[in-house]
Symmetry: C2
Subunit: 422 residues, 2 copies
């Protein structure tokens, strides 16, 4: 039987949509990697009753492990440990070792050598409480985690803090607690393969999968999920080791039908693929509507300084002309959102930055700015490569300003990758 887990993300700021949760996805990916199936993620505000209800729900669903994030801070709305103690019927006690650790951290952070204020003492006391029989997970901030072993009635519960970097830093030691080790001891070894495609619709993929299903025995052993995001289609398949030949047969069908659209068969992202395709060549950017997002995407990987020389965000036409050398007359004649201007931007960026390759974007991200024949979402791209004719394309993207900017960024990376693959 497979091991199932549930994740509870706490925090009114997450529940109310003010911040986007990064812990649920991260913990989920880690558990999946370990072979633990994540059945549910639940998000609740800083309210005892709702948190209690979610813990009860996950326990009733029979998960083997519950991981909570958030609600371990010093303020009154941080109530996870108290609720877990109530839920598991365990009293709270002070962990003296943790108390000393927290006090040392606070003294160091706040540079206090003498007496602590009453508020500081209260904060330290609160964060050093753990349920009887539970194990503390040493903090990287000020909040220790807590691991409570499973009982006949209840799953194991791992309580982690809210800041994502603390969750990530504490993960290894949390996994090593006897409570968690025991909870996930029976996990399966699943395999997971990821294909990534650009310019392939979900409907076209669905047709191919229907074909594969009719042709390939054992197709049902594969759990295939697809996700379309900003023009990228991700196809993730999860299966037990024995179904590997079946998976390979399905992948062969997809590649036979859509090989020109599939850019990655090993889970690598377009940023990683492009970095590999550059193969020692350097790249630069000239951006208008994407406003720096293409350069930001090209610099998000460690080591990107070996290929990204730099970029010019030429938002104003004066910068297009003054820095990139796009003739002002040309802009006046055909408009800033045009393939000739995209071409001149890309070639200007190569010249100014000294890169082997440059990619450019100029478009109408909206909501305003549309002109006859150029609706919101129109984006022109240029790609200049040393020794080749500069190419340009025009695309039209749906969605709001943020979506147009994201899609245009993705398209710019794919334009460069496709050209380098040729």
């Amino acid at each position: 039987m497979s091991t199932r887990a549930g994740i509870v993300v706490t925090g009114t700021e997450v529940l109310s949509g003010r911040i986007s949760d990064r812990n649920g996805p991260w913990v989920s990916a880690q558990l999946l990697e370990l072979g633990v199936e994540v059945a549910h993620i639940t998000v609740c505000g800083d309210r005892s009753d709702d948190l209690l209800a979610q813990l009860r729900f996950l326990a009733d669903e029979g998960v083997d492990l519950i991981v909570t994030t958030g609600g371990l801070g010093p303020t009154a709305d941080d109530l996870t440990v108290a609720v877990v103690s109530e839920f598991t019927g365990r009293e709270l006690h002070t962990d003296p070792e943790m108390r000393a650790t927290i006090e040392a951290v606070i003294r160091n952070w706040r540079k206090v050598s003498g007496d602590l204020t009453p508020a500081m003492t209260a904060a330290i006391d609160k964060q050093a409480l753990i349920p009887d029989g539970a194990e503390a997970v040493p903090p990287t901030g000020t909040a220790p985690g807590v691991a409570v072993a499973a009982t006949d009635e209840l799953p194991a519960i791992l309580v982690l803090p809210g800041p994502p970097h603390e969750v990530q830093a504490m993960w290894a030691s949390a996994l090593a607690t006897p409570a968690v080790v025991a909870a996930i001891a029976d996990r399966d070894s699943y395999r997971q393969h990821t294909l990534r495609a650009y310019g392939l619709s979900e409907a076209d993929l669905a047709e191919s999968l229907l074909q594969a299903e009719s042709e390939i025995a054992g197709f049902d052993a594969l759990e295939i999920t697809t996700c379309m995001s900003d023009g990228e289609l991700e196809i993730v398949t999860r299966f037990e080791a024995g179904a590997a030949p079946t998976y390979q047969a399905v992948e062969d069908v997809i590649l036979a039908r859509h090989g020109d659209r599939v850019y990655s068969t090993d889970g690598s992202t377009i940023g990683e693929v492009l970095a590999g395709l550059l193969d020692g060549r350097t790249i630069g950017t000239a951006e208008s509507c994407t406003g720096g997002l293409v350069a930001a995407a090209l610099t998000d990987r460690a080591g990107s300084s070996s290929y990204l020389l730099g970029g010019v965000v030429s938002y104003a036409n004066e910068v297009k002309s003054g820095v990139l050398g796009v003739p002002a007359d040309l802009i006046g004649e055909v408009g800033a959102v045009s393939e000739p201007v995209a071409k001149a931007m890309a070639e200007g960026a190569r010249r100014v930055l000294g890169s082997d390759i440059a990619v450019s974007t100029t478009g109408i991200a909206g909501p305003g700015g549309a002109v006859p024949g150029k609706p919101v979402g129109t984006v022109c791209f240029g790609l200049a490569i040393d020794g080749r004719e500069t190419v340009t394309i025009t695309r039209n993207f749906p969605g709001d300003r943020a979506a147009v900017r994201r899609r245009a960024t993705s398209a710019a990376l794919h334009l460069a990758a496709r050209a380098l693959r040729e």
Copy 2:
């Protein structure tokens, strides 16, 4: 009594952490704005049993409305409508009007005027199914939404598609369905106020709130939540209209103690505040470690072309020298990550871009690149303003590469805003 809602986000790609959900936060914020309290958000994969369990959980928790997103597509893993039909004990039938709408959309998208393929027909048939007695919400993509009225036993259920732009485009008509109108008719009118601070710790705020609690009668009528993210502390307070004077008294305490750190009392973001402070002046950027993120942040608002002229991403030292005019000797002498280089970058950006103001970043985002005295997370900033002495600062940020880049971006915006406020 207040009206409570639950949100169910479906999709294995969200549950497994491969993509970050944008629908839960968006729907939640919309509901809160309407005065509907969101009690729970749950995320489940594309599995009937888990989805059914979550619907049952929310119904048992007594919510008045469940909003689901995702699972309405043409593929086999899209099963929300079928599960909702099972959960509510309603048969599925074809909605002829929706079927015609979907067929027209598909013919248009895929440019088919003659016979449809069997796969297309199957996709259309599947997406036109709605539960008996439910109302279809017209699609903006190919998937209609579904609104099912509450019964004595079950809450109202609003079923929406997965792509965020479709959810957002369909929201207004979904709210107008009789099922949803009835479900949220009794909602309260809450008020919500947001303060935003930079450079204020949660612990310092907690002390101030303790003081406010001891001094201000009726403090308990306020639901105050705080959230720290990339150096920004957001303080959101929700209360019924009658508690407005209490809220004002608390806000006064916070402003008296931390007024220099609070940069927004009306919910506006640093981007909006900075745009206002620029007051007709233009700005440009010179970025190294942030790689375009500062320019991207300055262009994410509509109308940003009125103040952001452009930016230079000078990742390579040759670009710092060649484009921004930072003396190569200076870089050789003090290193690229230094205040003198940050100063020269900012002044170079002003000169090259022709802006009134320019802000620069140069730092070590990691994981590599640390040198003695300059650990990972060290970032130097420069701010050049027409008619003023250029200022520089050095900060050290915790976290991984992405966190350092985000925090440095936020710090650059705040550096500029604080100087313009003086």
